[in-house]
């Protein structure tokens, strides 16, 4: 169970974006390694990972702690650079880019969603969502920033909450603000690190529903999780262990968050009636 044969990967890509001809993948990892050196001890966090992810895909990266999934995520997020091997993001080799160019790339092509939401405290939802646009080149006018932030907040279902501070919002709502922030610069790739880790099960399903809807509208998502149930909402599941890809499979019985929410609402409605 090593890395998958090349044709399987190509198939996955083709399957994940039905109707589109996959010319080149959004993400292409080739023999990627990351080695940390801690006081004479070498830690091989990621060993020889090769991977293609195509536009429109929805990938879950799974693995226990120490499997290298977080390191891989950091490299995918251009927060870290590989020791050897190459990482191409939208046909650009990012392994050799400067810190400055990486920042621009993160700003323009990537959106981040974190487990602990990572919103600025004492700052309204609107201003939190505007944040990435502050750092955009060329400059975006304040009015455009405001209208775009409103639009995205509306899209994630937070219309009317624009002026709430994070501590006035529920966990699910905070995560929606974070997702809006990740989307506001129209990234090519959404990276989510355990996005449901701090949420209760129903809210988790709601957030996965949002991800599924966004994915259906064409946004590529790569998500790290250690919960099988959550991975079940994705199209493709990559298992990692000891820095290597253990398996890379299509999700045959994919769960639909929308249906499950509807079912939950029905069940709740029935209980209400019987009372």
């Amino acid at each position: 169970m090593k890395a998958l044969p090349a044709h399987t990967r190509a198939d996955t890509g083709a399957l994940s974006s039905p109707g589109a001809t996959p010319l080149s993948p959004i993400i292409r990892l080739a023999s990627l390694c990351k080695t940390y050196r801690n006081a004479e001890v070498e830690v091989h966090a990621v060993r020889d990972v090769s991977l293609d992810i195509y536009a429109g895909d929805f990938v879950a990266i799974m693995g226990s702690s120490g499997s290298g999934k977080s390191t891989l995520m950091n490299i995918l997020g251009c927060l870290d650079t590989p020791t050897t091997g190459t990482y191409e993001l939208a046909s650009t080799n990012v392994s050799t880019l400067s810190r400055k160019k990486l920042a621009t790339l993160r700003n323009q092509k990537l959106g981040f969603v974190f487990q602990s939401f990572n919103l600025l405290s004492r700052t309204s939802a609107l201003e939190n969502v505007e944040l990435p646009m502050f750092y955009s080149h060329p400059l975006i006018s304040l009015e455009t920033q405001r209208s775009r932030a409103r639009e995205v907040l509306n899209k994630v279902g937070l219309a009317g909450r624009e002026n709430h501070w994070p501590n006035q919002l529920s966990g699910g709502q905070q995560q929606r603000v974070a997702i809006a922030r990740a989307l506001v610069n129209h990234p090519q790739l959404l990276l989510a690190d355990e996005p449901t880790g701090n949420l209760d099960s129903r809210t988790s399903i709601e957030i996965m529903g949002l991800f599924q809807a966004l994915n259906a509208s064409g946004i590529t998502i790569v998500m790290v999780t250690h919960e099988l149930e959550i991975a079940a909402y994705c199209k493709r599941v990559i298992m990692m262990r000891d820095g290597r890809v253990l398996s890379d499979t299509m999700n045959v019985e994919r769960r639909s968050a929308e249906d499950e929410i509807a079912a939950l609402d029905d069940a709740e409605g029935n209980t209400m009636k019987s009372v």
Binding site: T104, Q108, F114
Partner: protein, 414 residues
């Protein structure tokens, strides 16, 4: 062009907006951080204002002596052993005064001076005041206009006329609100007609009230009141400031010759040079002002260290925030400038409040101490500039620390 405007104006403006929002989130802390600068700047402003005010007051008193004035006094405070004091020695004569104006070309006017204290009676009231005998040129020498009436003339001096100029305070004591011109006052039973009223002059160099006096021709004073033959002093006006030192030397030589002093004998008179006094007083008060400013600048430095301290705490506390900003695409430069602007805003706002409080404190002190506070625009500009520099200087290290954070560690920071 567009790029230039964007990178020079718009981008910094946006970064400032981010910094201001960050400060707005911690209003109380921002205020407390600025407090050091507020206190520093306000004390510098207040100290310099009061110092300048005091200097201006002293300079005003020196200037009120008159224009380019040398005062030749009888006696010499520098004589060892027994010192009978200025003006008391019987050495200066009217002939000495005449010789000075006749033989020293730089001297344009003189006024021999005698004085005594006596009871003045007028309008049924009586008042003890100083009676000063002067020449007709006295008011011009002292640059001291009349508020009403006329000065006595050279003829009045020649004939020892019984006319008097009255100070405002004396006039008020004797005549109250009435116009004293044309009235008669009696001194030692001699009647004087008041022909002029002095304008207000305030306290003189020695602190005595110059508005409480009666000025009469020196001839009248000598012949009719005191019976003395010697002068207390001679007021000498020199043509201009540059010639004052030379004129002083010439007068010294002339009087030594007239008094037949041997080279080994010291002067039996002394000459007070108004310019020298002014220079000395100015240099002393400038030194004091500088000293006060230096002491209060120490608190500015302490304030700067306070800002650095809080900014360092702030960087540590906001490590996650910095991590988020870097993750979503902020450049190191953006973070550096954000924190630099935060620190500078704190110090400049502190400077602004400090100026306001300093001006108010200056006026309060001046109200209590009775010295006018002069707030110079230079000291405001300087305090402002220094507080800006402090913000940049003490904000740079924390800002660089923030800008160099590793985003992965920063995002994981608890």
């Amino acid at each position: 062009m567009r790029f230039l405007i964007e990178s020079i104006i718009l981008r910094p403006a946006l970064t400032s907006l981010i910094a201001l929002r960050a400060l707005r989130r911690h209003k109380l802390r921002s205020l407390l951080t600025s407090l050091g600068i507020i206190i520093g700047v306000s004390s510098v402003i207040a100290m310099v204002a009061v110092g300048n005010g005091a200097r201006a007051q002293i300079q005003g008193r020196v200037a009120s002596l008159g224009q380019n004035l040398l005062t030749v006094s009888a006696g010499n405070r520098r004589t060892g052993g027994i010192n009978s004091g200025l003006g008391s020695a019987s050495v200066l004569t009217v002939q000495d005064a005449d010789a000075i104006i006749r033989e020293v070309p730089d001297v344009v006017a003189i006024s021999p001076e005698v004085s005594t204290t006596a009871q003045v009676i007028g309008n049924g009231n009586n008042w003890s005041t100083s009676i000063v005998g002067e020449s007709a040129d006295y008011l011009q020498i002292r640059d001291w206009p009349l508020s009403s009436g006329v000065m006595f003339t050279e003829r009045d001096v020649r004939i020892a006329a019984k006319v008097a100029i009255i100070g405002t305070k004396t006039a008020e004591q004797l005549f109250g609100p009435l116009d004293p011109i044309g009235e008669t006052v009696r001194v030692k039973n001699i009647p004087f007609i008041i022909i002029g009223v002095l304008s207000n002059k305030g306290a003189g160099m020695g602190g005595m009230d110059q508005d409480d006096r009666l000025i009469i021709p020196y001839t009248t004073a000598m012949k009719r009141l005191t019976g003395e033959k010697y002068l207390r002093s001679i007021n000498v006006q020199v043509v201009n400031q540059e010639r004052m030192e030379f004129a002083q030397q010439q007068i010294t030589a002339l009087l030594r010759q007239r008094h037949r002093l041997e080279p080994n004998q010291s002067d039996d008179f002394s000459i007070l040079n108004q310019k020298e006094i002014a220079d000395t007083v100015t240099s002393i008060s400038s030194t004091i002002t500088l000293f006060l400013a230096a002491v209060s600048s120490m608190s500015l430095v302490v304030g700067g260290i306070g800002i650095m301290n809080i900014m360092l705490v702030s960087v540590t506390e906001r490590t996650r925030e910095i991590g988020i900003r870097i993750a979503i695409g902020a450049q190191s430069r953006d973070i550096l400038f954000q924190f630099l602007i935060e620190a500078t805003t704190l110090s400049v706002l502190g400077g602004l409040l400090g100026v306001l409080i300093g001006v108010a404190a200056g006026h309060l002190v001046s109200h209590i101490a009775g010295v006018e506070a002069i707030v110079s625009s230079t000291s405001i500009a300087l305090a402002f500039g220094i507080s800006f520099a402090i913000g940049v200087f003490f904000g740079f290290y924390p800002a660089r620390k923030a800008a160099n954070l590793n985003p992965i560690d920063a995002l994981r920071y608890e």
